[in-house]
Symmetry: C2
Subunit: 568 residues, 2 copies
């Protein structure tokens, strides 16, 4: 079955339910906050992804990328699709006009990448890394560096990487050993080994721009001694720089994206930002990058659901329980409750998480550009707290939900023929990269919620609760329930802040439960939002709504219980 | 890290906690129920698996099996290991003495296969299929057929397959179309296509004995019209039979086991059992086969845990919370709560499920051989109800727990270097084959628990509750809690039996929750059993016990809530 862009659903959630143009207009101006412009962009995006990128999904998995004498050969068709992609202007969709971009809101870039990841996660890794490099260089690069590199990164003519990890330094970047020595001309000579570099070498573009974390000679130990350097594959004079790809990893999946072991041997580079302030420069784009990964999760789960729904409506096995057509030997498995529950549950996650991720996309722009300082602050709080929740919850559900979708295929799902097992394998890495999901949970609870005793999360949840009408309508039962859960979760967070004073370990044990509880209340809030829109009354939205309240929501009680037990 | 047999743990659970020799002596005689004989067998088994089979794990994944012109070439070393396996007498461990077996209790065969699956799931598929074929032929084969085939299947000189599935008939065997036509000499000519035939063709043994579900010319439609035929690869006179392997499936994992598409073209076969009674003949070995799969799950999860524990004790990243050695830059990740929770939780499942699966192994022998009819009946009830629970719960936890163990490795876990992602991929199929986990849940609830209004499950759970002392000791809190949950689950089952009268679909929606609730109360019972043994007081058993009560057990409340909500 060919992958389809969720154009109608996205339009409904973004424009009808969230009324995103109205929310964004004060921040980005009414010209860029225009529903019909957005619809046109999304239609074009959907067409491009479906026609150019989705057909390369299988070939991305096998043969995948090959390493040969330091070069990486991407699968047939990848380079052509990428060249078409950047020449059509897609990378620069949300880049500033002064950098050659179209200046559209971030959320449209988010939707584009959600669709790309669903259609072909491996291919999408390459352009996916551009955006962080663009933000980083835009905010921290010198004028000279920007004049040489920013435009070609913005428009995607050159691709970029983030070179952080070393064999002994994964989650703990403080252990990084790569060094940079100053040269007379103001450049630096960079030497060291990096691993897990997505797109470290490939044939999609002529040049590749690496952003490398390294230590200067006078650097203090630990994470505060790291600097960021820009190291191109080809030097400005056209010569090869001292940058080598020693191998690509054999992985569980994502074979369309080369994961490179890179060796920098006295490579020429230039400092980006201040010495020893490299981590700060990289963290500029942390929230946006994590929302990108969350949207990969949403896209992958949607793609898995598309495959499973199509299969379930064709495949006939056994009779459904209850009233049925006596003339048939077997019914489509889509009619079996066990299968319907799987399909509707994934839809409940996809729809709800879409709403939340799109709202987060809006908040990213509002935090930067809204004229009202209070609204900017509110938006910054939303991004700070909701981003780790979405990154972890969307990627975990992508993997587990794709595995549930595989189950719909029975033994056929375990073969490569149907494409579903590829999604299970490909999606698994999203739980690890851009900060493991465990680190997201610690970031949320220990770094962000506990230091102020739960005040910040209390403010965010009060905003969510205010948005739920206390009315007596049909949905009010849910809304009262969600309001109570928001209160309980804030209380549990406050208790953890107290418990931490006696037992520093206490919150670390339950950080994952806390994040999952946050995900569930956010999702519940999203379903309240969707549920009260008049356009959500048909079976398209009622089936996942019911699945959410019936099958997904009850977990919140268990998570709250685990949080309470940890402080009692 | 090299795989290790869990010799000490198994001995403790089987002999000290379950006192299995005492339980079995009345059924199998004291000579075969001898703890020191068992220990000796298990030591030998552990050595064989570790030395001969475990080293072939990586080569089983890659290159894996290859198909070439109808032949299947297994990975280097597979044939030699298999030849050593059968010549050492391992397949016949639990076969009857009159068939050339050693007549040892089933549970020892169970442990052997648990270890084999943990060490090398792919290789283990080949001999794993012998045991069902042996039981089937032993109980239903004619004397002539037995004299030709039973001995060589019992001792494993020839391997066997089960040919059930067809492209359009997976879970629904009633749709099978393969046909058998009678011949003058009493044989049958079998024609049709079968898929997903594990070990349908290979080079491990000279002959392969296929047990094929087919329809005779006068067969009624549906599952009651299926007959079972024995179709060998080589005919008694040495000629090739009309049995062809057209391809092997490209799969997500389990590349060490060839999954064959088989074509029978007028192949000569002989009826096993009565015409049209083929399903009954196959179901003889259903419980044992499903406990085998449950033990694969246990073995795979144990193997994943071994890898993750070894990695976590070596890998140093970031500081642990709380008091710590100031001189270090980073601590072993095994000290981080998020990692400890993952490791201890998997151990809680492995230990508890081992106890339950071993007790089920004992009940299989007790149901057949115990002199007391009431005890036999009790054992049959245990096997009938506990088997689907173990099959589904152990395999689901194998996959999800192995994925959690992969997470411990961070990005390294996603590469092929550490062997953990292979276990995730390999284990996924156990949730599908031998009856999907959804079908196990329906089998348990709809076929077994509801028809008698919950009486059977009430009897089984009363037996479990009787086994829990009502004392005032430290563990009594858990035991009272488990007793209450056993009662609640019986009550919920009774309500479902009533609800089904008005709504035939109702139990199908929550069959999975019901099975998982059963798994959790059984696991809790197992941990009560382990917890009150004096040998379980050290950290080896206390850490997983605490993880069980703290992290695993709370799910039971959520599942019971889902069951209650479905009937309210």
């Amino acid at each position: 079955m060919a992958w389809q862009p969720a154009l109608e659903d996205t339009r409904f959630l973004l424009i009808d339910v969230l009324q995103a143009p109205g929310q964004l207009a004060p921040a980005v101006g009414s010209e860029m906050a225009d529903a019909s412009l957005w619809t046109q962009v999304l239609e074009e995006a959907g067409r491009f992804v479906a026609e150019q990128v989705a057909p390369l999904q299988a070939v991305g998995d096998s043969p995948g990328c090959r390493w040969e004498d330091g070069e990486v050969i991407t699968p047939p068709g990848f380079r052509e699709a990428y060249q078409a992609f950047w020449q059509a202007g897609w990378p620069a969709l949300a880049c500033a006009a002064e950098d050659g971009g179209q200046g559209l809101p971030w959320v449209l870039e988010g939707v584009l990448y959600e669709w790309l990841a669903g259609a072909n996660h491996g291919w999408t890794m390459a352009p996916g890394l551009l955006h962080g490099a663009y933000e980083c260089l835009r905010h921290h690069g010198s004028d000279e560096l920007k004049s040489r590199y920013l435009g070609k990164i913005a428009n995607g003519e050159w691709l970029a990487t983030m070179c952080l990890t070393e064999p002994h330094a994964g989650s703990d970047l403080g252990l990084v050993r790569t060094r940079a020595l100053p040269q007379a001309d103001g450049s630096w000579r960079v030497s060291g080994s990096k691993i897990f570099i997505s797109g470290g070498e490939h044939d999609l573009t002529d040049n590749i721009v690496h952003l490398v974390l390294a230590r200067l000679p006078d650097a203090p130990a630990g994470p505060k001694g790291l600097s960021l350097l820009l190291v191109p594959k080809l030097l400005p004079d056209g010569r090869r720089n001292g940058v080598h790809c020693d191998r690509i990893e054999e992985k569980m999946g994502l074979h369309g994206s080369p994961t490179c072991a890179m060796r920098f041997e006295g490579a020429t580079g230039w400092l980006v930002g201040e010495p020893h302030r490299g981590l700060g420069a990289m963290f500029v784009m942390m929230n946006a990058a994590r929302v990108h990964v969350a949207l990969q999760g949403v896209g992958l789960l949607d793609a898995a659901g598309q495959l499973a729904r199509a299969y379930a409506s064709e495949r006939e096995q056994m009779r459904v329980p209850g009233p049925r057509d006596a003339a048939r030997a077997a019914d489509p498995i889509a009619g079996h409750p066990a299968v319907r529950r799987i399909l509707d549950t994934q839809a409940a996650w996809v729809d709800g998480m879409r709403l939340l991720a799109y709202q987060t996309g809006l908040e990213l722009d509002i935090a930067k550009h809204h004229p009202d300082a209070h609204r900017r602050e509110e938006a910054a709080l939303w991004c700070s707290l909701v981003t780790p929740v979405l990154k972890a919850a969307c990627t975990a559900q992508a993997f587990h939900g794709a595995s549930d979708c595989l189950q719909v295929f029975g033994g056929h799902g375990y073969t490569r023929d149907w494409g579903i097992e590829q999604i299970v394998r490909d999606s698994r890495v999203t739980m690890i990269y851009e900060g493991t999901n465990e680190i997201q949970a610690i970031d949320l609870l220990v770094r962000k919620c506990l230091p102020d005793g739960g005040a910040g999360v209390g403010r965010l949840f009060a905003r969510l609760a205010d948005d739920l009408p206390a009315g007596r309508d049909a949905a009010a039962g849910h809304e009262d329930m969600v309001r109570a859960a928001l209160r309980d979760l804030v209380a549990a967070t406050e208790h953890l802040a107290q418990a931490q004073r006696d037992d520093a370990e206490a919150p670390f044990w339950v950080a994952g439960d806390h994040l999952q509880a946050c995900a569930l209340v956010l999702l519940a809030w999203a379903w309240c939002r969707i549920g009260r829109h008049p356009g959500a009354q048909g079976p398209r939205w009622q089936a996942p709504a019911q699945a959410f309240w019936r099958w997904v929501w009850p977990e919140v009680g268990m998570r709250l219980g685990l949080l309470r037990a940890s402080t009692s």
